[in-house]
């Protein structure tokens, strides 16, 4: 994050996304430039994901067509908001894990992919990652990703719900990419 400086990701003075608030920065370095994916909140308090690029010492330039990922359909795991993006490159694609909030404010991790980093497609609902046990089935969030060849390691947070008293722990997942047909 140091490359963006303190004022690089200010809330927007214009535009739809990030008009009132920005948060959850996640920076990747591609071909000599820093790209930041972030949560942007508009006046309607919709939290969606956008991207910006850093050029030299200028403020962050946001993508004009932001958001790159919007709210899910009614009943989806991310119908109430998106946040905490984690982006990486693997197998010739950009991948993104993000936290989705449903109507009950439960949090799960969704997956999306893109060829150019600007136009994203969400993966099928059955790829959504949720906790497998009662205590963590409501909150999975905060993914952080490291790529090592074909292996992608993901660290994320599991938590109880409601959050107080809380029991947040950090957990890791090893993800392997296998060449198969995407359906």
């Amino acid at each position: 994050m140091g490359a963006f400086g303190g004022a690089g990701a200010e809330a927007g003075t214009s535009g739809k996304l990030g008009r009132t608030r920005v948060a959850d920065p996640y920076v990747i370095h591609v071909a000599g430039r820093y790209y930041m994916y972030y949560l942007g909140q508009d006046r309607a308090r919709r939290q969606r994901l956008g991207v910006g690029v850093q050029r030299r010492r200028r403020p962050l330039t946001k993508l004009r067509s932001n958001p790159v990922l919007g709210l899910g359909a009614e009943g989806a795991f991310d119908e109430n908001g998106l946040g905490e993006p984690a982006v990486w490159i693997s197998q010739g694609r950009y991948w993104m894990l993000y936290t989705g909030r449903d109507r009950k404010e439960h949090r799960r991790l969704g997956l999306a992919w893109s060829l150019d980093g600007a136009r994203w497609d969400k993966m099928r609902p059955d790829t959504v990652i949720s906790g497998g046990q009662e205590w963590n089935s409501k909150v999975l969030c905060d993914p952080s990703v490291l790529v090592d060849g074909d292996v992608v390691r993901v660290w994320f947070v599991e938590a109880m719900w409601p959050p107080r008293p809380s029991a947040c722990t950090v957990k890791s997942v090893t993800q392997s990419l296998r060449p198969r047909v995407l359906t």
């Binding site: 140091g2 809330a11 927007g12 003075t13 214009s14 535009g15 948060a23 591609v30 071909a31 790209y35 949560l39 991207v51 403020p59 962050l60 330039t61 946001k62 993508l63 004009r64 067509s65 693997s90 197998q91 010739g92 694609r93 950009y94 060829l115 150019d116 980093g117 600007a118 136009r119 790829t127 497998g132 909150v139 969030c141 905060d142 952080s144 490291l146 390691r153 660290w155 994320f156 947070v157 938590a159 959050p163 008293p165 809380s166 029991a167 947040c168 722990t169 950090v170 957990k171 890791s172 997942v173 090893t174 993800q175 392997s176 990419l177 296998r178 060449p179 198969r180 047909v181 995407l182």
Partner: protein, 228 residues
């Protein structure tokens, strides 16, 4: 007060004074870098090359009189200021295409247990550990995470993104080369806490960068001592 109000006042045919006051206010907002809304364009529509962030406001400018022309000039000037202010931070771009774009799918192999649990009673991260950010440096994995101990002055709701207590922890053990397989050792105190300097001497002005340097220094020392 945004450009929309300028439009409404112009269309309603109010006095020049009222419209002029509006444009002055909008100009001040724009120059001050404040949020000014949807932007303004000329009377013919949006300004070329400036789409969404500077959406057009089609105003009916009174024509044919001297005051009308002056008002139109003022309006166009304000439009340019607002448009340039908004457009300068938006752009259409894509990230570079990556080679080897074969189709693939994912297979998850989750670890059964958390790799980082809460600290013990009384520790700085005894209630929550969250916001992990993993980086690899010099053959080691570092986890900069937030902790929460529920004491007054610390965030009340650590699940909010604003609840960052500060970058933390470096696992100072050669075993860290196999991430996620061993319980993680943690420092006895956070490197950064609510903008205050900790015992490690972190400068509050740049908590993240300073904390990172401190973590690196601390870890290097631990590696040399083969312990943490």
């Amino acid at each position: 007060m945004g450009p929309g109000s300028v439009q409404r006042r112009l269309q309603s045919g109010r006095t020049r004074t009222a419209a002029h006051r509006s444009t002055q206010h909008s100009t001040q907002s724009a120059l001050a870098g404040r949020e000014v809304g949807g932007g303004v364009a000329s009377s013919k529509g949006s300004i070329a090359g400036c789409a969404d962030p500077c959406m057009s406001v089609r105003a009916k400018v009174p024509a044919g009189t001297g005051s009308g022309r002056r008002l139109a000039l003022i309006f166009v000037g304000v439009a340019l200021v607002l448009a340039l202010d908004g457009c300068s931070h938006f752009e259409a771009f894509t990230l570079p295409l990556q080679p080897g774009g074969r189709e693939s799918t994912l297979r998850w192999e989750p670890h059964a247990k958390p790799v980082l649990a809460r600290g013990g009673t009384g520790e700085w991260d005894s209630v929550d550990v969250l916001n992990p950010s993993i980086v690899q440096h010099a053959g080691l994995y570092y986890n900069l995470y937030s902790g929460f101990d529920a004491r007054p002055g610390t965030p009340a709701s650590p699940l909010l993104p604003t609840a960052c207590v500060g970058p933390r922890w470096a696992r100072c053990s050669p075993r860290a080369r196999s991430p996620g397989r061993d319980p993680i050792s943690r420092p006895t105190a956070p490197l950064c806490s609510q903008g205050r300097s900790s015992s490690t001497g972190i400068r509050p002005a740049h908590p993240r960068a300073s904390a990172w340097r401190a973590a690196e220094t601390r870890c290097n020392g631990c590696v040399r001592r083969s312990r943490c």
